[in-house]
Symmetry: C2
Subunit: 330 residues, 2 copies
Amino acid sequence: MTSAGQTALVERVLARDRTAVARAISVIERGEAGAAELLRGLRRNLGRAHRIGITGPPGAGKSSLVSALGALLVAQGKSIGVLAIDPSSQFTQGAVLGDRVRMAELDRSDGIFIRSMATRGQSGGLSPRTDAAADVLDAAGYDWLFIESVGVGQVELDIRNLVDTTLVALVPESGDQVQAIKAGLMEIADLYVVNKCDRPGAGAMVAAVQASVALQHHPDPAWLPRVMGAAVLNNDGVAEILAELERHRQHLSRDGRLLQGRRQGLLARLRKRVEQQLAARLHDSGAGPELEQAVDRILAGEESLEQVSERFLSEWVGKLAGGTPRGSGS
Amino acid sequence: MTSAGQTALVERVLARDRTAVARAISVIERGEAGAAELLRGLRRNLGRAHRIGITGPPGAGKSSLVSALGALLVAQGKSIGVLAIDPSSQFTQGAVLGDRVRMAELDRSDGIFIRSMATRGQSGGLSPRTDAAADVLDAAGYDWLFIESVGVGQVELDIRNLVDTTLVALVPESGDQVQAIKAGLMEIADLYVVNKCDRPGAGAMVAAVQASVALQHHPDPAWLPRVMGAAVLNNDGVAEILAELERHRQHLSRDGRLLQGRRQGLLARLRKRVEQQLAARLHDSGAGPELEQAVDRILAGEESLEQVSERFLSEWVGKLAGGTPRGSGS
């Protein structure tokens, strides 16, 4: 795309032209030339959208919840953008759930924009492109952004650094989950929703999550996360969840909390980016063959993994500074 | 501990003195002075144990499976070492399951050594200390090592790099799991066990896993992973699982596969260690304040996260090579 075409695309995104928004996200997703220029053009129009991360295990009804919340917000005259970053997402797989129809109807309205994005690698994880796609929707002026991702390990932490409010969705069906929660495997959220509360075991699940939350140290000492039951497919509890999200938004708007939270999230993302780029430089600089040779020495009991790592790093850092760094990875 | 004391400890570990093995793992776990020397002393006695990683979601019966397999192996005159690396482990939490009693009885015999280790950080992950503790048990001459860890995201991959054979345990109860498997969220194992097969939904679960395995590209094209049903608490299917583990061990013993697999796993662990140490050097060298300042420029739309990351890295690498690197992190 030409630079002039890029400028026109920026202007159309800022005017919330649906086709342009879709095109811009595609440019970013495919890593096309011009993606950086596009983002540069949007950069000064960021930060107005309230960003909500919705995470939790597969089958917790995250997509249904986003659909239901979206419908309420659109009815209130708000505009919403949705990024579904999850190979098992209902949006991605075209599931047959009833709410899919409702979501398809919503998607036709001007006030809502839905986009699925693939995860990078089998073990999940948000890519820098997720971040950039959220920026496109933010710059386009959608009032609320929902970023939905399956919660496995590190992903939950990643999503927290990308949003203003984190909601963890759970379901009562799984004894596994109760065990995981008891074991402290649950990450910290601003709001917990136990969905499918019409199923048996819902009370035990809510109690287990409440007990776990009581032991957590939420990063914001002034905020006590609530645990809410819901049956989203019956539209039961959805208005209450939206009210709680709104309450958190109001909470963040006071005492500079919103900016402080965004600064922390951005710092964490920046650190991670720097670490990833550094690792990419390491491997670009031909670390592979050297490390492979070292492996045989470790297997023979001549050196320890720690010793090899130390020695290699010292040598590599010296070499890197002396030579010209190659590229920057992806 | 004195250097002479350390040498004595090494000798006692090599003679498989239970108290010494426990002491050696404690030295490593607490990061006590002398841990490196201890490991150096054991280094030339490694590689004899067959290492099996057992992973899967909480509640899949991993500890019960290890107990049952351990009982069979001890009855065959084999010695086994067990590392349970999981905050929700039955071993750790002192659960009330029937097999706990059996395990406690086993633990009194000379042929079996059981140790729980804490994960590092809430989101799991194996620490270098897990690796070192496994080396202690290996050097002590236990024939089979079982490393049991809850499978969340990256951990499953980590454990694969640490062992010769990976077993993933699943349970039929959870529709979530079937969905996760269908979505390709399941990592690659050498053997899948669907435990609690006396429960409803077992057939569907086995079929879902089989369908998923058929689509996978196992790193060893000569090995087709089996999906086995079991009801471990009823001792149903345990002998068959042990036979399959033995079959994989025999398979690895041919055509240099065992060594090749260990070389690959070690290389992956070495790469990760180098990356972690590099990140530690980065943060030790005072990256924090500079990155914090950069965050404000990003928030103001003056620079992008990518630009800051690039510039920072180039400057940092130059500085690091010029100055004296501080420490190496832990």
